[in-house]
């Protein structure tokens, strides 16, 4: 088999096609841009994670003793900003979506390769603004920038950070725009909408939100900056403005934004579950349409963040009712994935372990969301650790697990190498255990009434906080491990071959790593999505 190894390595692919810095920084290849994103968002993830670690350490003891309250406020603000705007929102779309959507639809590249590169540069400029603001002293408004605190009372670098988010917002708009046009216009012959992989469907849905929602938050953030600079009064009650208007405009984007984060993750899970059950997904149409339903309904529920903020009782009732509706399509997805397992032929490779974890944790995250939609209970638990736990169950238990699963699943495709399976399984286990230990106690804390963003807290909450911090350290190990073995695998990993999982899909029908042009000739699709029935079932040995 030595010759096979030789040819795989020698074949020209997107990675060995030019080594200079310029060949990366000026590339228009969606795969290289995906790698650029992978590196940059990983950096931001560890920045955000570092802040999280300090927060958990501070909360070990009831007194605010490790850092000052000012520092603590900056820590949770910068944790939120780095994680949400610079990690979660770009994570699956900008890395996996960028890499895979053209491959999955059978195209040479995205519709607008230059705009794709521009997106990455905008992201970097935005991140630089945010990071420079952090280094210069940080910002303490919370990631939500509520007025009039952010416009009048905070003495920190609000404008620099706001500008960073504004710019990164355009990065996300352009990514969404690129995906929509690509999925509409660049599909290979035969790749009909009903044959489209669910990963594309869910990214398409997320892109709709990016295009429709992001500009609203961009203008809102701009108004906050103007308010700080010129005291224009639009959000300042002292000047006749209404602070709730800010909250409306902010959540008009920022609620749907959680679907930007979770939808692509759901797409990843659909791919993994079908592949490792060797089955067509149960109820393809329902899973696909559920994505679109989530994207549309997601725009109708934003004021459930504002039930105690002083909005009209009647508006609150309307938004509560609508909030339940958006829970239904998510439930439909969970049920369909579970049904996909039924009578499958299930393997326990690492991506599948992450998918199992996702299904469990997302179920908890989703159901606790129902608590928050129910106004009577929401009044008690909003702005407490209950919300913090719910959000992390969806975002970390859901989204980050999906992202990790996807990264393991497509790592062989992206790099041509396998990661070490044993270590990967260990890290999946650590993440699952550590995550639950960190965030489950927070549900109880929240119902007990511990408010979020508290630097010091009453002593009776300590035991649960200590548990949470202990869990966070396990979680941290779970995150650092993949960092090490992924880098290790780049050099020492077994060669993967084009299709190590024996999976169905156009992305597996081209060599790993794929050539710059993706396919030697435009593929013609003649089979239905997830056609595992006709996929030969023999084991494909890895590293032959």
């Amino acid at each position: 088999m030595a010759t096979a190894v030789q040819t795989t390595v020698e074949t020209e692919n997107y990675l060995n096609n030019g080594y200079g810095l310029k060949s990366w920084l000026l590339t228009r290849d969606h795969k290289r841009i995906a790698i650029l994103y992978l590196i940059s968002i990983t950096a931001m993830f560890f920045v955000g994670g570092f802040f999280a670690m300090l927060i958990r350490l501070e909360l070990l003891t009831p007194a605010g003793d490790l850092v000052s309250s000012d520092t603590y406020n900056k820590l949770f603000t910068m944790h939120g900003i780095s994680m949400i705007f610079f990690f979660l929102i770009p994570s699956v779309p900008a890395v996996l979506g960028n890499f895979l959507i053209p491959l999955m639809v059978g195209a040479k590249d995205l519709a607008f390769p230059r705009i794709n590169l521009l997106s990455w540069y905008l992201y970097i400029i935005g991140a630089t603004f945010a990071l420079v603001s952090m280094v210069m002293g940080g910002v303490d408004t919370g990631w939500t920038f509520y007025t009039p605190f952010s416009t009048t009372y905070s003495n920190t670098h609000v404008i620099g950070t706001a500008l960073g988010i504004f710019i990164a917002g355009f990065s996300s708009i352009f990514t969404g725009l690129n995906f929509i046009v690509t999925i509409h216009r660049m599909r290979a012959p035969g790749m009909t909408w009903t044959r489209l992989p669910l990963f594309c469907w869910s990214n398409y849905a997320a892109s709709i939100i990016m295009v429709l929602g992001t500009p609203v938050v961009a203008i809102t953030i701009l108004l906050v900056a103007l308010e700080r600079l010129f005291h224009i009064g639009v959000f300042n009650p002292a000047l006749g403005g209404d602070p709730l208007l800010f909250q409306h405009l902010f959540w008009f984007y920022s609620h749907p934004a959680v679907y930007i984060m979770i939808l692509p993750g759901m797409g990843v899970i659909s791919e993994i579950v079908t592949c490792f059950s060797r089955k067509r997904v149960f109820g393809y149409e329902f899973v696909a349409l559920a994505s679109i339903a989530i994207a549309v309904l997601g725009f109708l529920v934003w004021a459930h963040h504002m039930f105690v903020a002083g909005i009209s009782v009647y508006a609150a009732l309307v938004f509560s009712l609508l909030s339940y509706l958006v829970a239904i399509p998510s439930a439909v997805k969970i049920f369909n994935w579970t049904a996909t397992l039924y009578k499958g032929s299930i393997r326990y490779d690492t991506p599948m372990l992450y998918a199992f974890g996702f299904m469990g944790l997302f179920t908890i995250g989703g159901l606790t969301g129902v608590f928050l939609a129910s106004i009577g209970v929401d009044v008690h638990v909003t702005d407490t650790y209950f919300v913090v736990a719910h959000f992390h169950y969806v975002m970390v238990g859901g989204m980050v697990l999906a992202y990790m699963g996807g990264l393991h699943f497509w790592w062989p495709k992206m790099t041509g190498r396998m990661y070490p399976e044993g270590w990967a399984k260990l890290s999946a286990l650590l993440v699952f255990v550590g995550f639950n230990l960190t965030f489950f106690p927070q549900f109880i804390l929240g119902y007990m009434g511990m408010p979020r963003r508290y630097h010091a807290y009453p002593p009776e909450f300590q035991v649960l906080n200590v548990l949470s911090t202990a869990g966070a350290s396990v979680l941290a190990v779970g995150y650092v491990l993949p960092m090490i073995y992924f880098v290790w695998s780049l050099r020492y990993g077994k060669l993967a071959g084009p299709n190590p999982w024996n999976a169905v899909g156009l992305e597996w029908m081209t060599p790993s790593p794929p050539p710059t042009q993706n396919f030697d000739e435009t593929p013609v699709v003649t089979w239905e999505a997830y056609d595992y029935e006709h996929q030969p079932d023999e084991e494909v040995p890895v590293g032959h």
Partner: protein, 81 residues
């Protein structure tokens, strides 16, 4: 395209006595003409039309759902007194 000239002219005539509804109606007529003919939406694919309708729909959602709050705030006040 001739229509546009007429509507501009109309908006001048109306200067003396208008109200916001009339002004916005004229604006909407003008806008519709511009979108349909200057921007060739009338001759465009169904996809483009759907895109445009979606944009207007979501803008409507933003405005309408925000207003549900502002317009109903006064409805429930201190029935206890």
């Amino acid at each position: 395209m001739v229509f546009t000239g007429v509507t501009v002219f109309a908006s001048f005539i109306e200067l003396g006595d208008w109200n916001i509804v009339l002004a916005l109606t004229i604006a909407t007529i003008k806008a519709t003409l511009v979108v349909l003919f200057f921007m060739h939406l009338y001759y465009s694919s169904k996809l483009t039309k759907v895109t445009m309708i979606a944009a207007i729909f979501f803008l409507f959602l933003l405005l309408a759902l925000s207003m549900t709050d502002y317009l109903t705030r006064g409805w429930l006040t201190n029935p206890g007194h």
